[in-house]
Symmetry: C2
DNA sequence: CAAAATCTTGCACACTCTGCAAGTTTTTAT
DNA sequence: ATAAAAACTTGCAGAGTGTGCAAGATTTTG
């Protein structure tokens, strides 16, 4: 066991670097030449690997471009389960998200994250891939919420609804952030979650069947 | 102007038929041989057109398989704008959806719709395409809600949040419907929308903390 | 009925993605 | 340190996707 600086073997570290190189190359080329003129071969070449290797890392160029939504999901789940149990579910979730680094607290990458999101918002194919990943994360969150609430994750719709609603808030906040990139994302997140409470969800007159 | 039985020219009618033939062929073959063994050529052949023509109708086989979510969207918007203005937004939306034929009230297709949804739930690539379409419909709904509320559709997050939350309810209800296909979809829809009201959105600490 | 508009199809072509079989590098265990 | 095992990269072959183009067929229009 040759434990080096990081807890990662040389192999794992190289894989990380390659992965990052491919992602960076993909984003740079997409921004430079447009998504329609982007090929896997060009990405691979820029990243210094073969086309075949690209597909060992990503299943498509969209996959390489889309935000790694699953990145901080585990941490969010962990934080969620640690929140005080008297906190209402959505508030607990919001706090878990905000105190996590789900959005990569690293401000160095801010412009890059913004550019990636902008690209995603503009291209339906990227958006679809993005939402596909989001959906998987959503299920993870639903399971965590179910555990927190002590109910069945599959039979009870509540945790699924909570997860879906929470992801909606995040999604809308990010869209707004991209739309006018001056406001800080965290403020928009706060606003979105706050607005959920006043959406006219509570109905007190269910229509006497006209 | 040779007005025939329907308000459609012979050409439009043929296109409708071809479109349906392709969709049906795609679903049948997917259910029969599995999605991984499905090719555009096979779909086209079964539908009685050339491969090239397939791509005149759909951009991919996923496109042909996924639920046409945009189908009844216009009708839902129209109904939404006709709801009494004192109805809370989500309730108005729910009623608009339920009184529309957004889910194709035709019970003949029930098994077919169910099969299609099951397929979608099982295959991430189909789910991604599906969510991509859903997202576009969601924007349409957000615009309608903004008009109903008399606010700016882009600047104000509220209509976007409302649309997203409403689609969440629909999405979860459909997933539940697929998961155990015995309960009628409309009951699950009602339940989902009803549960939105009790999600702990309002921060009033429902749990006295055991 | 003839001109215009529209739809279908085949063909060519670039690109995507996968399995397989080398060859190379890292890891593990002696 | 060294040899065997495990893991990664790469090229190649091949099936499939998706688009532009042009010729031919069909429908619409006047």
């Amino acid at each position: 066991m040759t434990e080096h600086a990081a807890g990662l073997g040389r192999r794992q570290q190289k894989k990380r670097e390659t992965r990052r190189a491919i992602r960076d190359a993909a984003l740079d080329l997409a921004l430079e030449n447009g998504l329609e003129n982007l090929t896997v071969e060009a990405i691979a070449q820029t990243a210094g690997v073969s086309s075949r290797t690209f597909f060992n890392y990503f299943s498509s160029k969209e996959d390489a471009l889309v935000t790694q939504a699953a990145e901080g999901a585990d941490q969010v789940c962990k934080l969620l389960l640690e929140r005080p149990s008297d906190e209402p579910p959505l508030e607990a979730f919001r706090n878990a998200v905000i105190y996590s680094n789900y959005f990569g607290a690293d401000p160095v990458n801010r412009e890059r994250v913004l550019a990636r999101q902008r690209l995603t918002q503009c291209h339906p194919s990227l958006m679809a891939h993005h939402l596909g990943k989001i959906a998987m994360v959503e299920r993870t969150f639903a399971d965590a919420l179910a555990e927190r609430m002590g109910v069945d994750a599959e039979g009870d719709m509540t945790p699924q609804l909570l997860a879906a609603v929470a992801m909606s808030a995040i999604r809308v906040a990010v869209r707004q952030w991209v739309h006018k990139g001056d406001l800080p994302l965290y403020d928009l997140l706060e606003t979105a979650f706050k607005q959920l409470e006043h959406l006219g969800l509570a109905t007190q007159h269910p229509e006497p069947a006209g």
